[in-house]
C-alpha cells in the first residue's frame, strides 16, 4: 500500500521543493484548481479580504476577483444551499465552514439535499460541492471550536468524507475532491495547519478511497486519520525503541473506506488499535473496530482497541490534554493488545 506516489516534477519546477505549511498546501490547491477550471468558486464567511480565519483562502480574491472568491452573509445553511444551486447550474463550489461546530446549522442541507441530489434525481444531476471543515482540538479553543464531527457525515450515505494528515495529501486530496463529481466533506485537521513539509508540485498521492501506510510494522496496526496520524507516528517511534514495531495506517478517506488496506494490514499484524479524537461512543472508530473484528475474526489475537476522545462534550482548553488521545494512551492500548 504505497499510495504516496509523487508524480515527476514539471520541467520548470524549482530544483528544490518549497517547505510549506498544511494551510498553505490547501491554499495552493484552491488557487491551482481555480486557475485550472473557472467553474471553481470559493465562498464562505471571511474568506475574502481576510483570507479566512486560518488564512487558508489568503490572496484568492485578490488574484481571481470577487466573483470567484467571496464573503457570504453569516448563514451556514444558506452557504450550503447556495453551493447546491450553483453546482446544479454547473459550477464547482468550494465552501468553507469556519469551524466544525458551525457546520451544524447546515446539516439539514447536507443530509437532506447535498448527499441525496444525485440519488433522488436518478442520476440526472449531481452536486459536486466541496465543504471544507477545519476540525479537531488541541488548539486551546473555547467551546464549539474543537469538535470532531466526522461521524455525522460518514454515516450519511451519498457523501465522500476525506481528511488529509500530510502536506502533500492536503494538496492532492483537495484537488481530487474538487474534481469529484460527487459532494465531498473535506475535514482539515486544524492543529496540523501549521505543520510543515516539502511540497513538490504537481503531486498526486493516490486516488480517493485509498489509505496510506505511514510506517510499516508487524506487531500491531494503528488505524488512524487526521490529527491522530502524528500521534500514532509518535507512539510507533516510542514503541520501536522498545522493540515493538507498529504499523501506522492513515485512512485519508473515511468514505469510501479502504477496507482492503485495513484487512491486509491487520491480517498481517493480528492486532489493531483504532485512534481518533471524536467521542468514542458510536463514533467512526466503532465502524472500524466492528469491521476489523468481522473481517479479521480468525486472525485477531486480541480485541480491537479504541483510543478515542472521551464521551463528554469537548472540554475547556485547560482540560483538553486529558481528553485527547496521545501517544501514551495509544501505547497503553498496544500493551494491552500485546498482552492478550
Amino acid at each position: 500500500m504505497t499510495a504516496t506516489t509523487a508524480e515527476l516534477p514539471a520541467a520548470n519546477a524549482p530544483a528544490k521543493p518549497a517547505t510549506v505549511t498544511l494551510a498553505k498546501a490547501v491554499n495552493t490547491a484552491l488557487a491551482d484548481a481555480m486557475a485550472a477550471d473557472e467553474r471553481v468558486v470559493v465562498f464562505g464567511e471571511d474568506v475574502g479580504a481576510l483570507g479566512g480565519v486560518f488564512r487558508v483562502t489568503d490572496g484568492l480574491t485578490a488574484r481571481f476577483g470577487e466573483n470567484r472568491c467571496f464573503d457570504t452573509p453569516l448563514a451556514e445553511a444558506s452557504i450550503l444551499g447556495t453551493a447546491i444551486g450553483m453546482a446544479v447550474y454547473g459550477y464547482r463550489p468550494v465552501v468553507e465552514m469556519q469551524f466544525d461546530a458551525f457546520a451544524y446549522p447546515a446539516l439539514e442541507q447536507v443530509v437532506s439535499h447535498l448527499a441525496k441530489m444525485r440519488n433522488r434525481t436518478r442520476g440526472a444531476v449531481g452536486a459536486p460541492v466541496v465543504v471544507r471543515i477545519p476540525y479537531g482540538g488541541g488548539i486551546g479553543g473555547v467551546e464549539h471550536h474543537s469538535d470532531s464531527s466526522e461521524t455525522y457525515f460518514a454515516h450519511t450515505p451519498g457523501l465522500h468524507v476525506l481528511t488529509p494528515a500530510t502536506v502533500a495529501d492536503a494538496y492532492s486530496m483537495l484537488r481530487q475532491a474538487i474534481d469529484s463529481p460527487d459532494p465531498v466533506i473535506f475535514f482539515e485537521p486544524k492543529r496540523l495547519y501549521w505543520s510543515k513539509a516539502a511540497l513538490e508540485l504537481p503531486v498526486s498521492t493516490g486516488p480517493i478511497g485509498t489509505a496510506a501506510v505511514r510506517r510499516e510494522g508487524r506487531d500491531a496496526t494503528l488505524v488512524c486519520y487526521g490529527q491522530s496520524v502524528p500521534v500514532c507516528l509518535a507512539a510507533a517511534e516510542q514503541a520501536a525503541r522498545e522493540g515493538v514495531e507498529l504499523e501506522v495506517l492513515d485512512l485519508r478517506s473515511l468514505v469510501p473506506l479502504d477496507e482492503e488496506a485495513i484487512v491486509r494490514s491487520v491480517g498481517h499484524t493480528r492486532r489493531a488499535i483504532v485512534v481518533h479524537e471524536a467521542a468514542g461512543f458510536a463514533g467512526f472508530g466503532a465502524e472500524l473496530a466492528a469491521r476489523i473484528a468481522e473481517k479479521c475474526f480468525y486472525q485477531l489475537e486480541a480485541p480491537v482497541a479504541r483510543v478515542t476522545g472521551l464521551d463528554i462534550p469537548y472540554p475547556p482548553p485547560k482540560y483538553e490534554h486529558w481528553y485527547l488521545p496521545d501517544a501514551d494512551r495509544v501505547l497503553d492500548a498496544v500493551d494491552r493488545a500485546l498482552a492478550a
Binding site: V41, N67, T72, P73, A75, A77, S78, I79, L80, G81, T82, A83, I84, G85, M86, A87, V88, Y89, G90, Y91, P93, P105, E108, Q109, S112, H113, K116, R118, N119, R120, T121, R122, G123, A124, V125, G126, P157, G158, H160, S180, P181, D182, G209, V255, P256, L257, E259
Partner: protein
C-alpha cells in the same frame, strides 16, 4: 394603487406599499370577475384576449390534472397527493412568467406547475407514486426536484440565480414557498442572501392560509407576509392569488426586474387551500366549512371565466373544446397510471455516487442474491415480494 414601479428604491416601494396591504391585496378583477375600480393596470400584452384565453386553458388544465391526481390516490395509484385546488392561478402564473431557460423551484404542492412546464404526468407524479424520488431530469426541464424539507429550496434558488448572474446569463430563478415555510430559518437566509448578492430570484409565497392545521396568525404577527421584504431591502408585493391577471402582472414585473439586474422580489399571493393538506389529513379538525365556502366563491377559474365571457372571448364552444382537451389528458393519465411501473432493486445502488463504491457493489450483490432468478428478468412490480 398601481404600485408596480419596482425600480424605485426597495425601501420606499415596500414601505409605501404597506398601507394597501391592510385593506386588499393587489388585484385586477374583483370576486365577481369584474375589473376593480382603481386596481392594477396590467400591460396590453397581458390583457390581450388570446393571452388570457391561454391562461384560462392552463387554469382548467391544472384543475383537471389536480382532480385526476386526487382520483388516482383514491384508486390506490398514488400513495399520497397534496392538492393545489384553489391555488391554480398561482401555479399557472408562476410557470407563465418564466422562459424555458429560467429555473423553477417547486414544493410538494406544485405538481400542477410541473405538468404546466411540460413535464409528463407520470414523471411529475413519480414522487407521489412512490416509484422514485424525482421522476424528471431537473436540468432538462430547468425545474428542481419538488422540495419537501420546508424552505430548504430557498438557498438553492439563490445559488441558481447567483450562478446565472456570475455566468452573465439572463436567467431567473422563481422559488415557490408556502406561508408556513416563511417561519423557517432557511427562508430568511435565502431572502437575505439573495438581496445581498442582488441575485435574479423571485420568491413567490402561496399564502394559502394554513400550514397543515396551523393558521397564518400562528405563523406570523406581521400584517402581511410581504412585509418581510422590508427587512431584506427588497420589494415586497401582496397580490390576490386567485386573480390570474394580477398575478401575471406582478410576476412579470418581478421577473423582468430580476432579469435586468434589479435583484430579488418577494411576492405574497393571497389564496386558499381548498382541500385538506393531503388526502391523509382531516381538515375538519381545525377549520370550519363556512370558511371554505367563502373561499369557494373566490374561485380563480370562475373569476376569469366570468371576465372572459363578458369580453366575448369565452363561449360554450370554446369551453367544450377545453373540456375535451382536459378529458383526453386525464384519460391518458388514468391509462398510464393503470400500468404498474417497472423497477429493479439494482437502481437503489446506481445513483448514490457517480461510480458505486465497493461497499455498495457488495450490498447490490447481496440483494441480487436474495432475488435469485428474478434478477435476470427486467424489473417489474411483481418482484416486490422477495
Amino acid at each position: 394603487m398601481t404600485l408596480l414601479d419596482l425600480t424605485a428604491s426597495p425601501r420606499s416601494a415596500s414601505v409605501t406599499a404597506g398601507p394597501s396591504w391592510d385593506s386588499q391585496p393587489l388585484r385586477y378583477l374583483d370576486e365577481h370577475g369584474a375589473p376593480v375600480e382603481g386596481g392594477l393596470r396590467p400591460s396590453a400584452e397581458i390583457l390581450d384576449p388570446a393571452t388570457l384565453l391561454r391562461g384560462y386553458r392552463a387554469l382548467r388544465f391544472a384543475r383537471a390534472f389536480d382532480t385526476e391526481a386526487t382520483n388516482l390516490v383514491m384508486q390506490g395509484r398514488l400513495a399520497v397527493y397534496p392538492s393545489c385546488r384553489g391555488q391554480e392561478a398561482c401555479e399557472v402564473a408562476a410557470v407563465q412568467a418564466l422562459r424555458v431557460e429560467d429555473w423553477l423551484l417547486p414544493t410538494y404542492r406544485d405538481s400542477a406547475a410541473l405538468v404546466l412546464r411540460g413535464i409528463p404526468a407520470v414523471d411529475a407524479l413519480t414522487l407521489l407514486r412512490g416509484t422514485w424520488h424525482c421522476g424528471y431530469d431537473p436540468k432538462a426541464w430547468r425545474t428542481m426536484p419538488q422540495c419537501t424539507p420546508l424552505a430548504t429550496q430557498g438557498p438553492h434558488a439563490v445559488g441558481l440565480g447567483l450562478a446565472a448572474k456570475l455566468a452573465g446569463d439572463p436567467v431567473v430563478a422563481l422559488c415557490l414557498f408556502g406561508d408556513g415555510s416563511t417561519s423557517e430559518g432557511d427562508f430568511h437566509e435565502a431572502l437575505n442572501s439573495a438581496a445581498v448578492y442582488q441575485a435574479p430570484v423571485v420568491f413567490l409565497v402561496q399564502n394559502n392560509q394554513y400550514a397543515i392545521s396551523v393558521p397564518l396568525d400562528k405563523q406570523t404577527h406581521a400584517a402581511a407576509l410581504a412585509d418581510k421584504a422590508v427587512g431584506y431591502g427588497m420589494p415586497g408585493v401582496r397580490v390576490d392569488g386567485n386573480d390570474l391577471i394580477a398575478l401575471g402582472t406582478v410576476l412579470d414585473a418581478a421577473v423582468r426586474r430580476a432579469r435586468e439586474g434589479g435583484g430579488p422580489t418577494l411576492v405574497e399571493a393571497v389564496t386558499y387551500r381548498m382541500q385538506a393538506h393531503t388526502n391523509a389529513d382531516d381538515a375538519a379538525r381545525y377549520r370550519r366549512s363556512d370558511e371554505v365556502d367563502q373561499w369557494r366563491r373566490r374561485d380563480p377559474i370562475e373569476r376569469l371565466a366570468t371576465y372572459l365571457t363578458a369580453l366575448g372571448t369565452l363561449d360554450a364552444a370554446v369551453e367544450g373544446e377545453i373540456e375535451e382537451e382536459c378529458a383526453a389528458y386525464t384519460a391518458r393519465m388514468r391509462e398510464q397510471f393503470a400500468e404498474e411501473p417497472g423497477y429493479h432493486p439494482d437502481e437503489m445502488f446506481e445513483h448514490v455516487y457517480a461510480t458505486p463504491t465497493p461497499r455498495l457493489l457488495e450490498q447490490r450483490e447481496l440483494v441480487r442474491a436474495e432475488l435469485g432468478d428474478a434478477t435476470d428478468a427486467p424489473g417489474t412490480g411483481t418482484e416486490q415480494s422477495r
